[in-house]
């Protein structure tokens, strides 16, 4: 194999150091193969394309896309606060607080987001007299992502070794100073890459809010579909719209991973 394709034959660990020509060639091959596969699949389709009908709703696409960006950003900030609280609660000396954190993480991670959204909107929010579906949607999404984030943060804190805490104590730092100068800087470096990845998931997960009629990207695409009866023309731009958000984040996450990679 190596002799047949000397340009594209690399050991797994030095892929990024491969010459530019090899990387371009390898990417082109993969891209063409995948494109050909889909080209064939679409060519077999007996389908009357009608992009014109969908084009008239471009504003609606854009509005939905913006709502998705805003909801995701708000949920991200809220989920960060929630996850920091539960990550610390998980390490608390107060036993009930620790169990609350464990229960939260296990229940949220073990149940479908779809069910959580329905229960929160139609049962919990209703009982407390909250009817704003955007607020409930953001909160549910933040609680959902927070469970995953809190595990990332907890693992980050625990990866700072006992010997580090001891050194901090020995040089006379207070507990607060130890968090400020020793723990947090290291935790942030370590969790930024998975955090970015989690944010990409959050953006896609926000599509489920369409079931409680939050007018985000997916719901708008569904509505356009029902106005125009052009299913693929409605949903293909949807995929592209999500990819526009998640791809840069994913690349950024990989960049951070490279940047903060140092042995400890």
């Amino acid at each position: 194999m190596g002799r047949l394709m000397p340009v594209m034959w690399r050991q797994p660990d030095d892929g990024s150091d491969a010459p530019l020509i090899s990387r371009i060639a390898a990417f082109a091959v993969v891209f063409l193969l995948v494109s050909a596969l889909f080209w064939f699949a679409f060519s077999q389709l007996q389908y009357g394309w009608n992009w014109h009908a969908v084009w008239q709703y471009r504003q609606k696409f854009l509005q939905g896309w913006l709502v998705t960006v805003l909801i995701s950003a708000a949920a991200l900030i809220l989920s960060l606060l929630i996850s920091i609280f539960f990550a610390l609660a998980r390490r608390s000396r107060l036993l009930p607080l620790r169990y609350l954190a464990m229960l939260y993480v296990e229940v949220v991670r073990g149940t479908p987001l779809l069910v959580q959204i329905l229960v929160f909107f139609y049962v919990v929010a209703d009982a407390f007299g909250v009817s704003n579906r955007y607020a409930v949607g953001i909160l549910t999404l933040a609680l959902f992502a927070g469970a995953y984030l809190s595990e990332i943060i907890r693992a980050g804190i625990e990866s700072v070794g006992e010997s580090q805490l001891e050194s901090a104590q020995a040089i006379g730092l207070t507990t607060f100073q130890t968090y400020r100068f020793v723990i947090i800087p290291q935790v942030v470096r370590r969790i930024l890459p998975p955090l970015a990845g989690q944010f990409a998931s959050l953006i896609k997960d926000s599509s489920l809010l369409s079931i409680i009629a939050v007018s985000e990207f997916t719901l708008n695409a569904q509505e356009i579909n029902s106005f125009t009866f052009s299913t693929l023309e409605s949903y293909l731009p949807l995929a592209v719209g999500y990819l526009l958000l998640t791809l840069p984040i994913s690349l950024f996450s990989r960049y951070l991973e490279q940047k903060y990679r140092y042995a400890t």
Partner: protein
């Protein structure tokens, strides 16, 4: 320095690690603690460093009775320099920043004042060229020398070393022991837990043999090594001197 411990006890899960330790050393400058692993020597050192609270007993250093509340312990820790076996340094900070962190945060130095002080010490330890490197880029011996530099930078009352070379290979061990010897020659007071009997012998003026949570023997280092009284110390020396 003067060090006196009275009825010091400490146990973990009802297993005594320090068992009613009492000792009075009115004037000691280089105290070496030897003994078998798990015998309590590290706990003894950590208690003197203010990192452990004893269950009972008293500790008097230079005539001052140490209180074991958090505020007093913090003040105490800030007055001494402690170096552990390994992983003393913070991996996200450079050698220089490792030294300036306690100066700025625990000793009231201004930012530039701390940098200047750290640079002076790094130069003295011939580490200037490594000032901007992270610990992962330094050898084990260099890391320990930076850790010692950090301990000295704060102008401590005395230095504590907990087996500072046990994680190093022989060549690096000697570069670290040389520095400790130099510090001793400068007249700095130090307390050292070590397995290097030859080094203990040259550097120490007093030696404690700790086993099973007790100080089994205490005396001038030459005397302990040449005329051990207890059977435990005889056996211990027999084992560690064999090779």
């Amino acid at each position: 320095m003067q060090l006196s411990l009275t009825n010091l006890s400490k146990s973990y899960d009802r297993r005594p690690v320090l068992d009613d330790i009492s000792i009075d050393l009115p004037d000691v400058h280089a105290l070496v603690v030897i003994g078998p692993s798990g015998g309590g020597k590290t706990t003894l050192l950590r208690t003197i460093a203010g990192l452990e609270r004893p269950d009972s007993g008293q500790m008097l250093i230079d005539g001052e009775l140490l209180q074991f509340d958090e505020a007093s312990l913090l003040k105490h820790r800030r007055s001494i320099g402690t170096v552990f076996q390994a992983f003393n340094l913070f991996p996200h900070l450079t050698a220089l920043e490792n030294i300036t962190l306690p100066l700025e945060q625990a000793h009231g130095y201004g930012h530039f004042q701390a940098i200047e002080a750290a640079q002076v010490i790094l130069k003295r330890f011939k580490l200037s060229e490594h000032a901007d490197k992270k610990p992962a880029q330094l050898s084990g011996g260099q890391q320990q020398r930076v850790a010692i530099a950090r301990a000295i930078a704060i102008k401590p009352r005395f230095l504590l070393f907990d087996e500072p070379t046990s994680a190093l290979d022989p060549e690096m061990t000697s570069e670290v022991l040389d520095i400790i010897g130099e510090l001793r020659d400068e007249g700095r007071d130090l307390l050292l837990v070590t397995h290097h009997m030859g080094f203990a012998r040259t550097v120490a003026d007093h030696c404690l043999f700790v086993a099973e949570g007790k100080i089994v023997e205490s005396g001038p280092v030459e005397l302990l090594f040449t005329e051990p009284l207890s059977s435990e110390l005889k056996q211990f020396l027999g084992r560690v001197m064999r090779y």
